[in-house]
């Protein structure tokens, strides 16, 4: 492979030009706050299209495998599932009473039906291709054409997934809540204490800036507070898994996300947040 190279001057010029191009590209984005230029949108839309095709193909192969070749143990699994259905039906019957009661109480309090606002279902077609940082961003097959914009909240029925950081016409990139630059404003469901949950680049999260952490205990659920104006209030974010003394005054609190972010298939994007429910006069007067 060793060969004498020709004159190097044009080479240095080419290298300098390429490096200058990239330097200008990220300098413009960081200095002017342009989070996603036309180059990114165009590349995202073109590449993610191929990405979606590849994803569908892999899913197809996996589907054939699971449908025809991996059927061992289906009978026993079927029996387990049937008993699970029976148990869940009984539970459903019990809980439908609770739902009716809640609806009656809500009418009494003159509250609107809770809603997520306008949502769009999107399919996850890819993940961050760079190593180590993988699972911190995902690519979804919906974009500006479907009403998605930067800072659109993304979730699953289990809880919050992240927010859109770049939206092309048909595809978008979602920053997961475990990303080291992610921060979500939250409150403890039981005590209503507010704080900020930060990603640390691993599968867990850290709770910071909570005004009083003395009542925190393992198993406490954290929900979004809505103060960050990205995620609507009341979405489940995670559960406290560890509370230990920290280096400073505050405790070191570890959170496990409610959503298994390694197994995302479809997500829900909140394109129009719900309108704030009016606070009933009886409640506001009592404050």
């Amino acid at each position: 492979m060793r060969q004498a190279l020709p004159s190097k001057r044009p080479l240095w010029i080419l290298l300098a030009a390429a490096l200058l191009f990239h330097t200008l590209l990220f300098s413009l984005q960081s200095s002017r706050g342009v989070d996603s230029g036309r180059v990114r949108h165009w590349l995202l839309d073109s590449l993610a299209r191929i990405e979606k095709t590849a994803d569908v193909a892999i899913d197809g192969v996996r589907g054939v495998w699971q449908s025809y070749f991996a059927l061992t143990g289906v009978r026993s699994e079927n029996e387990v599932l049937r008993s699970e259905i029976d148990r869940l039906q009984m539970q459903l019957a019990r809980q439908s009473e609770d739902v009716l009661e809640a609806a009656r109480l809500r009418r009494l309090l003159d509250l609107q039906e809770p809603s997520l606002g306008k949502t769009v279902v999107a399919r996850v077609v890819g993940r961050d291709p760079s190593p180590v940082r993988s699972h911190l961003t995902i690519t979804i097959d919906k974009g500006r054409n479907h009403g998605i914009r930067p800072d659109t909240s993304v979730m699953t029925p289990a809880g919050v997934v992240g927010r859109v950081i770049s939206a092309g016409d048909s595809f978008s990139i979602v920053q997961l809540i475990v990303d080291s630059q992610s921060a979500v404003s939250v409150m403890v469901r039981s005590t209503r204490r507010q704080g900020i949950v930060r990603g640390i680049g691993t599968r867990d999260l850290k709770l910071e800036y909570i005004d009083d952490d003395s009542e925190l205990k393992e198993g406490d659920e954290l929900i979004t507070s809505g103060l960050d104006r990205v995620h609507p209030k009341g979405l489940l974010l995670g559960v406290v898994t560890q509370v230990k003394p920290g280096a400073g005054l505050l405790k070191d609190v570890t959170i496990r996300p409610a959503v298994d972010l390694g197994r995302l298939e479809e997500v829900l994007c909140i394109t129009e947040p719900p309108k704030e429910a009016p606070v009933p006069a009886s409640v506001s007067n009592s404050r």
Binding site: L19, F21, Q29, P129, P131, R133
Partner: protein, 168 residues
Amino acid sequence: MYRIRTVTTIGRFVMTFAAVVVVQGVLPHHFRVFSYFDLPLVLCVYYGFTLNRPGASILIGSALGLMQDSLSGAVMGTNGFSKTLIGFLAASAGGKFNVDQPIARVLALFLFSLADGLVVSMLALVVGDAAGPAFDGAYGARLLSAAFNTLLGLVMLGYHDRLSHATT
């Protein structure tokens, strides 16, 4: 005629790169082990060593990095900058040293992997990358990734050797 052939070659290269970058994004979504591979980086080194054309290696690195940036949450240009440098350095190393020896290849691939991570992280810190720096304590994972990249690079270069021997 020459121009048409050049355009076709460039088009084929771009399509291959696009497929590679995309596959790099799709496979980790289904199989977690693939997240340790950095196929664009391995390709940069591979073409740097085998093409003997530093100019082409610079352009290849630049294009691969840009595609990688566009599909990740990283600021556009960070991976492009790093892969451009790696492409140039790999081509220079291929021209000046004997990179046919496995030991030299292992060393080069491993060091280029670590250097790429370092450059991307430093740039991310400088520009305040929205997706965060990559070197925030994940040293073990970074070393593992470098080992995976080295292994993949060795296989690809070995395959290239067999092909070139078969044709000569």
